[in-house]
């Protein structure tokens, strides 16, 4: 069983191929503005390096958000077309889940992604138990909630934050794939980004405000 992992939800490309519990190859690269230019190219080179044809992949695990709207769509479009065209199984996972399972700690683990204007995408977990599920939240509000828990906590992120206890995110692609590979596969037509946030135009039209 060969599994292709794709995460383009931030300005990094994280991709890898896992075969029978072993990591065959991986790419972890930062792209500031040209992720759309190189994501598929890098994936194709990685397969080539492993002497694999597109059809040799059995399953795709793709991160569907939250994160950069454009970034998410890059990996999702590739994965969606790939799974649909070659009839491969496809599973979507949360970028925040990928971040938290990549780190080993008995403390509270808080993956966060900068959502700008003082907001973040974040979740809070302890020993794989969810304390706060994935959400779009004001950083100040999140910090307040964490302090109320009165326990040690660590952040995981690949953004720059002026916070204590920051662990820079280095995806453990093998662990991520092993953790989620048996999730239920979805019809490729129906996989969708999980933006966790409406567009501004929709918020204005519906009078939604996130001031939590």
């Amino acid at each position: 069983m060969k599994i292709l992992y794709i995460d383009t939800s931030t300005n990094y490309l994280y991709t890898g191929i896992v075969c029978d519990d072993k990591l065959l190859s991986e790419v972890k690269k930062k792209f500031d503005h040209d992720l759309s230019k190189y994501a598929l190219y890098e994936i194709s080179k990685m397969l080539e390096k492993c002497n694999l044809q597109p059809n040799d992949i059995d399953k795709i695990i793709v991160v569907n958000g939250p994160g950069s709207f454009t970034g998410i769509r890059i990996g999702m479009t590739i994965a969606k077309l790939y799974a649909f065209s070659l009839k491969k199984e496809i599973i979507t996972i949360s970028s925040l889940d990928a971040m938290r399972v990549s780190i080993k700690s008995s403390n509270i683990i808080v993956p966060i992604i900068d959502a700008r204007r003082g907001y973040v995408y974040a979740s809070v977990y302890k020993n794989n138990q969810v304390l706060i599920p994935d959400q779009y939240i004001k950083l100040d509000t999140l910090l307040q909630k964490l302090n109320d828990m009165k326990e040690e906590y660590i952040f995981v992120t690949n953004n720059k934050f002026n916070l204590a206890n920051i662990n820079s995110y280095n995806p453990d692609i093998l662990t991520i794939v092993e953790t989620y590979k048996n999730n239920k596969a979805i019809n490729p037509h129906l996989i969708e980004p999980n933006y966790l946030k409406l567009t501004e135009a929709e918020e204005n039209l519906q009078g939604i405000s996130y001031d939590n």
Binding site: L40, Y41, T77, S85, T199
Partner: protein, 334 residues
């Protein structure tokens, strides 16, 4: 000679479309998923909403296109995709999809400029005859282009500010008609009278256009009439506005045909569906013995058939992109 089947992909604005065209002229199947009903709520296209809809629709549209054509990806000779200009987030979904298909099936990838697509929409009606002048008019473009052969584009002029379709939609908003205002104004103009005095924009010898002044003139006129307590006769305003637009478009286009001694004119782009504009050109072309082609309504607005048709000629010229093709929000036609 072996038949060439091109799969076209278009996603530059608010239409997700796939099409298969044989030998550049014969449409095999086209599927268009329009988002117009979503964007109506906002009075115009919202880029992020458009991008979200594209990724939601993309595989459905591809599947339907292949089914309609009764073909498989293996039978396709090359994949042609709009790389720009357009909304960057929208373009990105189509370009990533095209690159992925090119990779998975090991097919040549052909980058197509959106405007060349609009021009080649006419090639699906009737094989283009050269030399020709193309007037491209849409929500995003207003350009006069000279072509002496396939894929040789010489831009004579273009808009310096708003595109003509954009101007129509903005005028539509001022007189409270639903988005997109263009087709409604065209209909209203057909029963109105030219009673309002509006300036002819950029009425010079160049091949450039300007529509922002005309738009402002309409806004001011409506404002002043309201201040005076007068009702706007919308049909008459629509007619007065459309007359000015038709006047400047036809004047510059006919001038170009004469100066370049060209006997073929094609209209292209969504605004080419405007009856007032079409009919005036028809009249002038008959008078001046010019061969005149305009696309049928389905080929005038954004669609992938025109991208596949244009892509065929680009393919034959050896134009190729690799897996690093990146969408461009602006780019000159070349």
């Amino acid at each position: 000679m072996k038949d060439i089947y091109i799969l076209g992909i278009e996603s530059s604005c608010d239409e997700t479309s796939f099409s298969i065209v044989k030998n550049g002229t014969e449409e095999i199947a086209t599927v268009i998923s329009s988002q117009i009903d979503i964007h109506k709520n906002y009075g115009g296209v919202v880029p992020e909403i458009a991008s979200r809809a594209h990724i939601k629709n993309i595989t459905f549209v591809l599947e339907e296109c292949l089914e309609k054509a009764n073909m498989t990806m293996e039978e396709i000779d090359a994949i042609a995709v709009t790389y720009g200009p357009g909304l960057i987030g929208s373009l990105l979904v189509g370009v990533e999809a095209a690159k992925t298909l090119a990779y998975l099936y090991n097919k040549p990838l052909v980058p197509v400029h959106h405007i060349s697509g609009h021009i080649y929409a006419n090639n699906l009606v009737k094989r283009l005859e050269f030399p020709l002048i193309a007037l491209v008019i849409s929500g995003g473009h207003t350009e006069l282009i000279y072509m002496d052969k396939d894929y040789s584009f010489k831009k004579l002029g273009g808009t310096l500010d708003d595109a003509v379709g954009e101007c129509y939609d903005k005028v539509g908003r001022v007189i409270d008609v639903e988005y997109p205002g263009g087709p409604i104004i065209d209909k209203m103009a057909s029963i109105g009278k030219h009673t309002y005095d509006l300036p002819i924009p950029l009425n010079d010898d160049s091949y450039n256009f300007s529509f922002s002044g005309l738009k402002s003139a309409v806004i001011n006129l409506v404002h002043n009439e309201k201040q005076r307590g007068n009702n706007i006769r919308k049909e008459d305003l629509a007619k007065s506005f459309q007359d000015v637009v038709v006047d400047v478009l036809t004047k510059k286009t006919m001038h170009a045909l004469k100066e370049y001694n060209v006997k073929n004119l094609i209209l292209a782009g969504g605004v080419a569906a405007n009856k007032g504009i079409r009919n005036k050109f028809q009249e002038l072309c008959e008078e001046n013995k010019i061969n005149y082609t305009f696309p049928s309504i389905k080929y005038a607005t954004d669609n992938a058939a025109m991208i596949a048709s244009s892509g065929y000629y680009a393919f034959k010229l050896g134009r190729r992109a690799d897996l690093t093709l990146n969408p461009l929000s602006t780019d000159e036609l070349k």
